[in-house]
Amino acid sequence: MFGTIVLAVDGSRPSDKAVDYAGRLAKESGSRIVAVHVKEIMAGRAAGPVHVDEDDILAKVREQIKQLNDDGVKAELQVTSTMTGGPAHVIAEAAAKESADVIVTGTRGHTALAGVFLGSVAQRLLHLAGCPVLVVPDAASAGTGATASHEAAAVS
């Protein structure tokens, strides 16, 4: 039912969960994935300095998208940088432009404050998005419910 999935990616661990889940979702329903990565100017915040190399992030994200395509999912990557509005705006705009049926995101990215459950980008997305927002939990056990076998088990 999700023809187009906009996937928010930033190479963080919660983002990895979102990529996995979106991949399975896309396979299940034959969706197209438009992954959006927003380069952020990362300054140290209350969580302390953020030692993340944008080149490394980009390489990782590109690899993830390549992997999706290798798995038979039609996925593309859009990389933008923003100084104004913030990543959530960029992602919401991309979703509007691509007529996305859903935005898939992790709970938080690299720059979220320590101790905050739902990062500012995910929170802003909930407000800005014109389509449903699917938040993939970070917990290790979560997310397995998406598989077809599990779904069948639940039905029987």
Binding site: Y21, E28, A96, A129, G130, P132, G143, G145, E151, A154
Partner: protein, 151 residues
Amino acid sequence: MILIATDGSAPARAAEAIGLELARARGGTALFVCVWAPLRASFGVPVPELLDSEFVDAERTWAEETLAEAAARAAAAGMEAEKVVAKGHAVEGICDTAARRSAGMVVIGSHGWGAMMSLIFGSTTLGVLQHAPCPVVVVRDRTDDAGEETA
């Protein structure tokens, strides 16, 4: 199994539509959950149910009717749906049911009856995002977007 949390509000109705579509697309079942809370008097002290059975009945009946209406809409759309009435805290009721029934997804409106328009996210929705054992789809009611920029 797609769990659809509902309280009959407009965002819940929007979530219901998305949840039913998801259930249909994935060949799974839809499970409606509505949580009702026993009345709380001042300072959060529970009102003894025996003293207030009339109000308790009214709340429980509201939940049952809300679910029956949702199930009727699902049936009209050709979908079979299960119904679960839970009593107590909404976040707990929704997340416990999701865990117990191994729901693959929870679909919920951005806010219920309690929140002021769409300006603030419902505490139930945020709580479910935090405690659900599975991915959560948050659905907004597009009809109340008037004051909010949607990019």
